[in-house]
């Protein structure tokens, strides 16, 4: 399996652990990520707020480069471009989608691209998020077969954030309100997955820079919810979510008088650990809230199952009414 790879600015440095771990995991799984040569920033959520056409041209340059570099490789006419950052994934897939919808926009964008000797045909790339590739292309079976050190006893809160599952322009692979693919992936690694109702809620995004109070409240809700369900850690799949929950956790504590110490790791870091890689090889140690105490649970002698979590389901008695049937998960 070979994919075009668009790391995005965050993975170069602040989320370096994400890049390191996903590359290490990919090597274990036999997946090849070929970085798009000379990619540029996707514009995050800021560029589009300043100029429309320049923002679309900015993203389209990446699409054009990626299409040129990946299409036709391995005999597949339509190359696949993988983005691990949720914001990059959204921007790339959204621009591709809107260009397909609006020939006028495509025309303008291609006029701009022509100034750099490039052009892009909407729909000629398949833009995917890393999680999608891991659960649907690699598959749970292959992941399970690669596990060497199951994460037994580790209670994780799977956190999807926003932009992977919403708005799902082209590659919707999970429920936009209550996704479950990361839950299942974590269970495949042997971890205990706690219920996390806010799993697809917002981490505050760029609000940390615009209104600190608003942002810290959003982060607090997530931490509280994870703490309520006694999660040992939150796993994320987006550099922005990781940064906000991790780097601002102390600010939340000081603002709200709380004492949260919940490590925030990338899902690929946990995959790497479960595959038996040493912590350093998956970038452990770069987080603000130290993950090592939690990870001690999956050391050589994993501690016994944690104390029972509060039961969410109501007490059953003779008079209880049946619960609605839900389609089988998995």
């Amino acid at each position: 399996m070979r994919y075009g790879y668009y790391p995005g600015c965050s993975l170069e440095r602040n989320a370096g652990a994400y890049h390191t771990s996903l590359m290490a995991v990919a090597a274990q799984l036999g997946v090849e990520f070929a970085e798009v040569d000379d990619w540029n920033c996707c514009g995050a959520t800021e560029f589009i707020a300043v100029n429309r056409l320049r923002a679309y041209a900015l993203v389209s340059r990446n699409l054009a480069l990626a299409a040129r570099q990946t299409n036709g490789s391995n005999g597949a006419a339509r190359g696949q471009l993988v983005a691990p950052c949720s914001a990059c994934f959204l921007n790339l897939s959204k621009v591709d989608h809107y260009l397909s919808e609006s020939p006028a926009l495509t025309n303008d964008v291609n006029n701009a691209l022509a100034a750099g000797g490039l052009s892009y045909e909407p729909g000629s790339l398949r833009v995917r998020h890393l999680l999608d590739v891991m659960v649907n292309d690699v598959g749970y079976e292959r992941v399970a077969a690669t596990v060497r050190r199951p994460l037994r006893g580790l209670r994780v809160a799977p956190y999807y954030g926003c932009l992977v599952v919403r708005p799902g322009f082209r590659e919707r692979f999970d429920d936009p309100e209550y996704p479950t693919s990361l839950d299942r992936l974590m269970r495949t690694l042997g971890a205990t997955v706690v219920d996390f109702p806010l799993k697809a809620h917002c981490c505050g995004g760029h609000m940390t820079q615009i209104s600190r109070d608003v942002a810290l409240e959003l982060i607090r809700r997530l931490l509280k919810n994870a703490a309520d369900y006694q999660a040992d850690m939150i796993v994320t799949l987006c550099p922005m979510c990781q940064l906000n929950l991790d780097a601002f956790q102390e600010s939340v504590n000081s603002m709200f008088g709380t004492e949260y110490r919940i490590p925030i790791l990338f899902f690929t870091q946990l995959m790497g650990l479960a595959f038996g890689l040493p912590p350093a090889a998956v970038g452990i140690g770069k987080e603000f809230i130290d993950a090592r105490p939690a990870l001690a649970r999956i050391g050589a002698a994993p501690p016994a199952e944690a104390e029972a979590a509060p039961k969410r389901k109501p007490r059953r008695n003779d008079q209880s009414l049946p619960l609605p049937q839900m389609p089988e998960e998995e």
Binding site: K224, L321, M326
Partner: protein
Amino acid sequence: MNAETPDRARHAHHATPGAEHGERVGVYVCHCGHNIANTVAVEEVAEWAGQQPNVIVARDYKFMCSSLGQELIEQDIQQLGLNRVVVAACSPHMHEKTFRTACQRAGLNPYLFEMANIREMGSWATDDREAATQKAKAQVKGAVDRAVRQQPLEPLYVDINPNTLVVGGGIAGLTAALELANAGYHVYLVERDSSIGGHMAKLDKTFPTLDCAACILTPKMVDVANHPNITLLTWSEVLSVHGYVGNFTVRVRKKARFINEELCTGCGTCVEKCPVRIIDQNFEVGLGYRKAVYRNFPQAVPKYPVIDTEHCTFFQRGKCRACEIVCPTDAIDFNQKDTFVDLEVGNIILATGYEQFDARRVSQYGYGRLANVFTSMEFERMVNAAGPTAGRVVLRDGVTVPRRVGIIHCVGSRDKNHHEYCSRACCMAALKFAHLVHERVPEAEVFNFYIDIRASGKHYEEFYHRVLAEGTHFIRGRVAEVTDAARGPGEEGQLIIQVEDTLIGKQRRIPVDMVILMAGMESRKDARQVAALFGLGCDYDGWFTERHAKLDPVVTMTEGILVAGACQGPKAIPESVAQGSAAAARVAGMIGQRVMKMEPVRASIDASSCSGCRICNNLCPYHAITFHEDRKVSEVITALCQGCGACVAACPSAAISGAHFTRDQVLAQIEGILWDARQPEVLWLEPQ
């Protein structure tokens, strides 16, 4: 140029279109007061028309549809010997019938009349006098050229079998069946479930009068069961439909109940003794239990239980037989097989109803994930005295009485992600629920979350006011999400309804104990298969298509197939009953005529030109085309044909012709309508 020979510019004597027909056409151009004359130079059109081949007389007149205008046509037919009439006026949908009747009065076959629509599609659609006049000439020329090729046609008559099939035993079907039976006609009522009553049988009270549903429904159910003119076939399904209006043959499968109906007294001992208890997903919508041998409810009609072979221990493991042992009349018959009956009927009324929208699909409301989120139908069963909680309003634990109840409107309705339409009945049901919660739990607070309250029915608005007066809270806003993730101490252990209160423009979080989702109505999952079976249309949402939304709401495009109730679109009980009665009245009217007159716009196959290729064989939505294996030709059964022309266009050897829309008629109209764009007559070409 002859329309029948598209590419042979060779017959000199055919140079004048239609000349070979030698027909005598009269053209009448209407002023329609100023409606046409202001924009179209009507005199000019008439004068020009008078110079066209075959046209004997062309006149313009103030109001052609007036009695004087009609007399003008009648006089000309008789005095000038016209054998074709063209009127250029309004839309044929407006006055075609008027002028056809005038022709008929003067002794001219009405199908030798043709209309050019120069008002709706001419003078009213533009200000450009020159262009409108030019277009009117083209339309007149098209009509004249078409008319000379029109043929006299006679209407078709078919006998009507007085028996009727009603499919579906909900309130609409029951009403239709009873109306017809009371009028003295025989009815077969086919119901898929083990008993009749439909959704209404599950309800406790009905809005806005708060009548007890069972009190008004069960007498009707018993009437149906006992009526000498009704043959009730429950636990049965229609397998096939053949024939045409007045003469349908319908095959019905009666599924095995494993109960001998001759012997069963309906005592219910078998149900009582059956050791298998399972969640009832059908009648109790998952909120209650039933046995493996069961009746939907104690007053079920018919009274006979049915054995669910999927859960019955005997059918699964060959042991048990408890029911057989306890039955006092030996009515249990494990060897019973499905049986098939063929019914001969003249008309069919479909009253197959709706399904409730699956609330799991709006996942932000947490149904299936959050225990104390209920659907509206679950709540109906809960408040029903005969339901799983004997009418007590309680949480999922079966004990706790909710103090705060949130009712969320428009779940799956008015939502382009699911159904764009409004389900009509849920607003009123939500008001009813609010009232019932107050009635059963006087100290409870109820919150209604709504986009708009749709209370447009007799005494509906008054009911809304009554519920307002009872102290129900109304928050205008479509709920964003229901969550159990508490943000702070005030929210712990409760369900939080997050919503924008649009009237104050602020986001609010309302903690409640119980949430009721007003799930909308949607068409039955098999609606499309049923539609195909009976040869009628469905809209995108799967509702059956009526002939005319306003003026013909219970008749479909297929003669003899009618619809009633929610299978045609979301409806509450009163509208369903009204439609059931209306459908019955239409059928009774048809039966009363004994024979039916049908438009002769039908297809027919010239057997000597048919090569037996069978291209047309599966094109007919009404199964009107049969293939004769012996002679290797296909034939159109005239009475079944509805005249759409799909087969006519498909026939590769043009062996099928569609009366009144024949190939040469349309081709001639094309030539006529393009009179000013066509090349002047070309005969032989010089070398290039």
